[in-house]
Point group: C2
Chain length 347, copies 2
């Protein structure tokens, strides 16, 4: 599914003149201009894949460089991330492992506290409070979901908003909603990753129509707020929306984050739209070793025929989330050491 | 501009059959059905005015009753509002006076601290902190704008979010943005007033398309969040939106809060749309004693020909803001005394 950079370029480029048939030469030459434009509209204009894997790699390299710079300026100080894991879910353990591995790769210290499945809420809160006070820790990540007897909201609220690298503290979400005030300390990783993918793919956001499919706290709502901060005209469609395709058809930018497998159809898209697919769903596929393959919230096959730029699944938004987590941790550390400006980072 | 209830009813009701001409009888009788539906579409369907003055009066009466009930249940306790005013702006003084007067009318105690124009930020913060601790105060209102040497954001953030009756504390805005979590303690008065006007005018919000014109912290953004919480599909248009009329034309509900005099045109509306006009602008008018009259952000004359329901200016949203301030104060007091459920109020 993941296309290499060279394949990507081949897909995106128009066919060189030498490869056109005589008939096409006639059409594109302007002799049958009207027919040509009709044909062009029917043809897939060539969808450029937005290579999240590569962009995330670029971001991680930038972070690595900044961490080195930070070390020089501060005489040895580095960013520190703390990860709190409660219970023994295999998927959570695996996420935590890969986060720690990525930290190590870019020079961010990481440490973790693993609590047993039956830990009390008070025990979790104690761990969070200790990290809140720890001057060497600049980001605290509480791996979700937590066991059911623990009130997640209470735990997340306990994380100092100055170390809330996930950006879910109501103070950070509140600041994200308000313009012309103090910026949020942190912006949630996945939505920020979506915006970063658009910007680094040269998709203009300002003045464009954007539709966000889904209104979750984790992606949809903060993505809409972020697009609006970037001066897009934003519509949020959700489970209660009648005929969501009507709004989607108008959109220059679509962020699909509804958690419904292959929901957005190519026929719903405006030709040339930029499509960011946040969904990760396991679809039965007997040809695969695991018996399934990963698909997004967009029907990739039909969407790529209409979209101008589009993220694949996997290899689109997925790799960005951790990259932005590292970026958030770096920015938190730079603020804490008072070197944001010197490092050219947002304060 | 303010229509009486009887005039409103006359505007809204269809003409009785006896008043139709023979030609119209023929048309509406179904003999010329197609022509009739064309004609109906071209005719103004009769716009019902949403009488904010009357609805606000109803709300204040409900509050008065609840305050009485609270007194009985709690053996004499009442809600208390504190108003902080810095400087000597005539308009601010007048707003504060009318807020206090309205409080008195519904049985809410109000007290105020007036600080001189040259008060320091620390002095203002001290006053806020004292009210934060005062158990008899359930709402703190800092009258804006404050003199320029005072950082408004810092002062507003100092107000305990449990007493933030204006609903602007980032914790309350953050909670408003997040679904399925703890509700905000308070919702900003004007946007909540807009939703209340819609609900009390029997405008269904769920599943409807809504457009908010303007994205201010005070009205546009929280209004959009509220509409979305009520399951509308919301688009926010703003100064960077190209062709805002395209989105507005699709909307079943329009909330106009862009601060541009008579901006929204009747030709931009979907026939039958519900229009809430938040704008208050002074328009030159030599026929008036003051040399101006108040107009909204919608062109009333053209809009009322197309809208199904619409607020006038003045007498629409204006009176709702203070009514909701009183409602917020009542709800804060009920929470503080632990009697929300008994009084049938939101917690």
């Amino acid at each position: 599914m993941q296309l290499s950079a060279s394949k990507k370029a081949a897909t995106a480029a128009p066919p060189p003149s030498s490869q056109l048939t005589t008939f096409e030469h006639v059409l594109y030459g302007g002799i049958a201009l009207t027919a040509a434009s009709v044909l062009k509209r029917e043809l897939s204009p060539g969808c450029e894949l937005i290579d999240g894997k590569q962009i995330a790699q670029e971001i991680r390299q930038e972070i690595k460089d900044k961490v080195e710079e930070m070390k020089t300026i501060t005489k040895g100080k580095t960013p520190g991330l703390a990860v709190v894991l409660v219970g023994e879910r295999k998927d959570s353990q695996s996420y935590v492992r890969s986060k720690k591995k990525m930290c190590a790769e870019v020079g961010i210290r990481s440490e973790g506290t693993d609590l047993p499945e039956d830990a009390t809420e008070e025990q979790v809160l104690k761990v969070v409070r200790a990290y809140n006070k720890d001057r060497n820790i600049h980001g605290i990540l509480v791996q979700l979901p937590m066991p059911k007897h623990i009130n997640e909201e209470r735990v997340l609220k306990e994380v100092s908003y100055e170390k809330d690298v996930d950006g879910f503290h109501p103070l950070n979400i509140g600041a994200l909603s308000q313009r012309g005030r103090e910026d949020p300390r942190f912006v949630p990783c996945t939505p920020r990753g979506c915006i970063e993918l658009l910007k680094r793919s040269n998709v203009e956001i300002k003045g464009k129509k954007a539709v966000v499919v889904g209104r979750s706290n984790v992606v949809g709502t903060p993505a809409a707020l972020l697009l609006q901060r970037n001066d897009a005209t934003v519509t949020v469609v959700h489970s209660r929306t009648k005929n969501p395709e009507e709004a989607i058809r108008e959109a220059d930018i679509v962020i699909a984050a509804c958690g419904v497998m292959e929901y957005v159809q190519g026929s719903w898209l405006k030709p040339g739209a930029a499509v960011i697919d946040v969904g990760i769903n396991a679809k039965d596929d007997a040809t695969k070793k695991l018996g399934y393959r990963l698909v997004g919230d967009c029907d990739f096959k039909s969407c790529k025929k209409v979209a101008g730029k589009m993220t694949p699944v996997p290899g689109g938004v997925g790799p960005m989330t951790i990259a932005i987590l590292l970026q958030n941790t770096l920015e938190g550390a730079a603020r804490s050491y008072g070197v944001s400006e010197q490092l050219g980072l947002k304060k």
